[in-house]
């Protein structure tokens, strides 16, 4: 039942306006490199996330190109200046065309 694309995004509980906050995001994904073989000796096809985009409100604030070098169940941390009340949306896309996304609301006081 281990599923692909389960997401957890964490931001601090209390945010002041203008704070630079850490955003921690975790997603479950096998990140197969395409270089491994299964027990029968057949190569396991590559299956990895290659595109990550982060939106704050309507703005694209960062994007990342990932390769097979990134580990399974990738975890990332980045910093955002919380200057408006808006949703933070992270979108992961893998090489098989699947899209995973999740949103957290940033509400600076």
């Amino acid at each position: 039942m281990a599923e692909i694309g389960k997401i957890r995004i964490r931001i601090p509980d209390a945010i002041k306006k203008g704070d630079v906050i850490p955003v921690k995001a975790l997603i479950t994904h096998p990140m197969e490199t395409g270089m491994r073989k299964d027990k029968a000796g057949k190569p396991i096809p590559e299956h990895y996330i290659n595109d990550v985009k982060v939106y704050y409100g309507n703005d694209l604030i960062t994007s990342m190109d990932w390769t097979i070098a990134v580990s399974a169940d990738p975890f990332m941390t980045f910093y955002v200046k919380a200057d408006k009340a808006a949703p933070l949306r992270i979108v992961w896309k893998d090489n098989k065309g699947a899209t995973f996304e999740d949103t957290v609301q940033i509400n600076p006081q």
Partner: protein, 277 residues
């Protein structure tokens, strides 16, 4: 004459005393030659810190993928299953309140089983008896998730395993297992984890047996998934000894071994889910 008889009696008494002492010593030590650890636990902690730094600890707190397994475990805990239309939460409280601290005494001796009862076995027993549901296969995702959730309710509480009374022979059996040499390499557990603990093996530091049982189920980078202590023992430790036929999950030897190891961790707080390399 009288003096002679009483003298003989005293000798006999003394002899029987000596014999019983020998018998006792043999039954408790079981002919096991124990190793002395070459480093202290403090020295091990120091080396661990030097080698890994805070990396594992940081991942444990911030981005442990096992946290998502924990969520699944909680969902399964509340999910109705089986013929009686019940879920675990129906008896144990919506968030498992009544199971707080329950995991600190597992694995434990069970009179009905006449052996060691581990937490996954108790979960399956509960499913069969009280829920009329099909037992899960040991080592699969669902049962690991529920075990992780139940254990997480006891987080921070010290492990308190009792080896008194009828549990004693199983503790001894576990210890014997720990010191039994196996496989092509002819190793036993204690060789690495008592005699050479703190030394390197490939890219890892050999751990001391004190810390073995306090953080399972754990997310392991090498597995890229979350697993139990038994998976670690069977599919890594025993396999690395090049044992021909690997033991099954929840087989008697492995249960006794888990019991022994958990007793060694007595007093340490439970910290699940763990994160290891």
């Amino acid at each position: 004459m009288l003096g002679r008889v009483s003298g003989m009696l005293i000798t006999l008494l003394l002899l029987s005393g000596v014999l019983s002492v020998i018998a006792l010593r043999e039954s408790s030590a079981e002919g096991i030659q124990e190793y002395t650890p070459n480093i202290s636990p403090e020295e091990y902690d120091k080396r661990y810190k030097e080698f890994y730094g805070e990396a594992t600890k940081q991942m444990e707190e911030e981005g442990n993928p096992a946290d998502l397994v924990l969520d699944d475990g909680k969902a399964l805990f509340k999910k109705v299953d089986g013929g009686k239309g019940k879920s675990c939460a129906d008896c144990h409280g919506q968030n498992g309140e009544r199971l707080k601290g329950a995991a600190t005494t597992y694995p434990r001796y069970d009179a009905g089983l006449k052996g060691i009862l581990t937490l996954p076995m108790q979960i399956n027993r509960c499913r069969e008896k009280n829920m009329d549901a099909k037992p899960w296969k040991y080592g699969t995702y669902d049962i690991v998730a529920v075990e992780l959730f139940v254990k997480s309710l006891s987080n921070g509480m010290p492990i308190r395993i009792s080896i008194d009374g009828p549990a004693k022979p199983f503790y001894e059996a576990g210890k014997r297992m720990y010191y039994t040499r196996l496989g092509q390499w002819n190793w036993n557990c204690a060789l690495c984890h008592v005699k050479y603990s703190g030394h390197k093996t490939r890219a890892n530091i050999l751990s001391t047996n004190r810390h073995h049982a306090d953080h399972w189920p754990t997310y392991r980078m090498a597995w890229q998934s979350t697993g139990t202590i038994q998976r670690r023992i069977i599919n890594d430790c025993i396999k690395n000894m090049r044992v021909d036929k690997l033991p099954e999950y929840e087989s008697e030897d492995i249960r006794n071994l888990e019991f022994y190891l958990t007793y060694k961790a007595n007093g340490l707080p439970i910290q699940v889910p763990g994160f290891r390399f």
